[in-house]
């Protein structure tokens, strides 16, 4: 069975080999796009991202991806942002001063606190496996549908996206007792702070769930 193609927005933000392989593993055809002209017949768009927020936004703008991403969202295409690729969906980031994002998910990217709820020092970045918990948005009809609450995913980050409307939050995770926002949803746009391509079977189940939404085109 051939599954839908996923266009990857390759705006120069580092290694996307693992996410390509993970998508292929769950049966997707992967189309790596280094320029907006390649964004034709898009059903699903994946926005990766590692490093600094401002560098990623600059990459997206300089390569001319900003307007096409907005168009795809308006056309109701399925979008998935991963890590800093999720963060740039927000209105703005506080990393190294204020930088504007794409403004697709209203909210602010803020630094994780340096202190845990019990007063102990919280190490940053948050690196490692943390368990996903349900928040306002239902997991049913989302890529998390087939994943059990309490399953761990792999994170590497110091900032996270805090949506203006808490209703947009799909999942968070507990990092030594500190809540870390793990997944957001705005219509057909999803963002995850964790790395599905490094989260073992849970990550593959998530990508599989994303493809299922694209296939059925409901939700």
């Amino acid at each position: 069975m051939s599954r839908p193609a996923v266009h990857i927005c390759d705006y120069g933000s580092g290694n996307i080999l693992s996410v390509e392989r993970a998508l292929e593993k769950v049966g997707a055809e992967v189309i790596r796009c280094t320029s907006p002209e390649q964004l034709t017949d898009v059903r699903a768009l994946l926005i990766p991202g590692v490093g600094a927020f401002a560098d990623c936004m600059r990459g997206v703008r300089e390569r001319g991806f900003e307007a096409p991403i907005h168009q795809l969202v308006e056309q109701g295409k399925w979008v998935l942002g991963i890590c800093v690729g999720m963060q740039i969906l927000a209105t703005r980031s506080e990393e190294f001063g204020i930088t504007n994002g794409l403004g697709i998910v209203p909210g602010t990217v803020t630094q994780l606190p340096d202190t845990a709820p019990d007063g102990s020092r919280l190490k940053r970045p948050h690196v490692g496996w943390s368990e996903l918990r349900r928040r306002s948005q239902p997991w049913e009809g989302s890529p998390l549908e087939k994943i059990d609450e309490g399953t761990a995913a792999y994170f590497v980050h110091s900032f996270h996206l805090v949506p203006d409307d808490p209703q947009d939050l799909l999942a968070d995770a507990s990092y030594v007792g500190t809540p870390v926002n793990a997944a957001v949803r705005k219509g057909r746009v999803f963002g995850v702070q964790f790395h599905p391509e490094k989260s073992g079977r849970t990550g593959l189940a998530f990508l599989d769930g994303f493809l299922r939404l694209v296939e059925t085109d409901r939700g």
Partner: protein, 262 residues
């Protein structure tokens, strides 16, 4: 102090094209195909994989990138790669091949600036300092070795690690040369000596032969992660059994989704 979840890591020492296992990092035996083993540990629920090229420094080469690339096609968990990485270009090659972190020993001893260079380029979480520690006879001190425990450096392990963390090392792969391959337990005093002075995660390696060895390393040594080779390569313990045992003893480990095919 509340801790993050303890990670269980499979360590695969490579002498291309084979997975090998030594005793005290020497006396090497061929165990099998590293990619097959990596896939097996991944399917079994390991949290991370470490590949170390055991002979790269010796022959001034590095041949691991093809293996890393192959593994990255079907192993979807964090992968650390080390052994013979001498320059930022070597690091770039590994990261492009699918590595998430690199571990560096010899090159960092010879030119500590490489630690900062890697940390600036990829973040400190990607810069794992690998330390081969050998106890000084009759003392509670350890000396750092290079080239798989063959060559002394004259550096005190705790001092060296403290310096490396200041330079940007985000994690320590701490291997006891004395305990490695013996399967008689991990080096708890060594781990205590390191975890009491730095607050980056410490992966303790060398000597895991039984369930209680892991528990002691975590409870007494304060290890953040355990790297295992012998017990996994020789099918002495399963990852599931180790995980269950640790949970029963009150240790927080990751829960992976068992309902989804790997």
């Amino acid at each position: 102090m509340p801790k993050h979840k303890v990670r269980l890591i499979a360590r695969l020492d490579i002498k291309a094209p084979n997975l090998i296992k030594g005793v005290n990092l020497e006396g090497v035996r061929v165990v099998g195909d590293p990619n097959v083993q990596a896939r097996k540990y991944y399917a079994g629920g390991i949290d991370e994989i470490i590949y170390i090229d055991a002979v790269a420094t010796l022959y001034a080469r590095n041949s691991l990138s093809d293996l890393v690339r192959t593994t990255a096609s079907d192993v979807f968990i964090p992968m650390t790669v080390g052994g013979g990485l001498r320059s930022i270009q070597d690091v770039d090659t590994m990261m492009r091949s699918g590595a998430d972190k690199v571990s560096i020993n010899t090159a960092a001893i010879r030119r500590p600036e490489i630690i900062t260079e890697v940390a600036r380029r990829y973040g400190s979480q990607a810069m794992v300092l690998s330390v081969e520690a050998k106890r000084l006879r009759g003392q509670d001190k350890w000396e750092a070795y290079v080239d798989n425990g063959r060559e002394k450096t004259g550096r005190d392990v705790v001092e060296w690690i403290t310096e490396a963390v200041q330079r940007g090392a985000g994690e320590i792969l701490l291997t006891s040369v004395d305990h490695e391959g013996m399967a008689r337990g991990l080096d708890i005093p060594l781990c205590q000596a390191v975890t009491s002075v730095v607050d980056v995660p410490v992966i303790l390696s060398g000597g895991m032969g039984a369930l209680e060895h892991a528990l002691a390393a975590i409870e007494q040594g304060n290890a953040d992660a355990i790297a295992m080779a012998h017990v996994l390569h020789y099918n002495k313990l399963t990852i599931a059994a180790i995980r269950t045992y640790l949970i029963e003893h009150g240790i927080e480990v990751c829960r992976h989704d068992e309902g989804v095919p790997a």
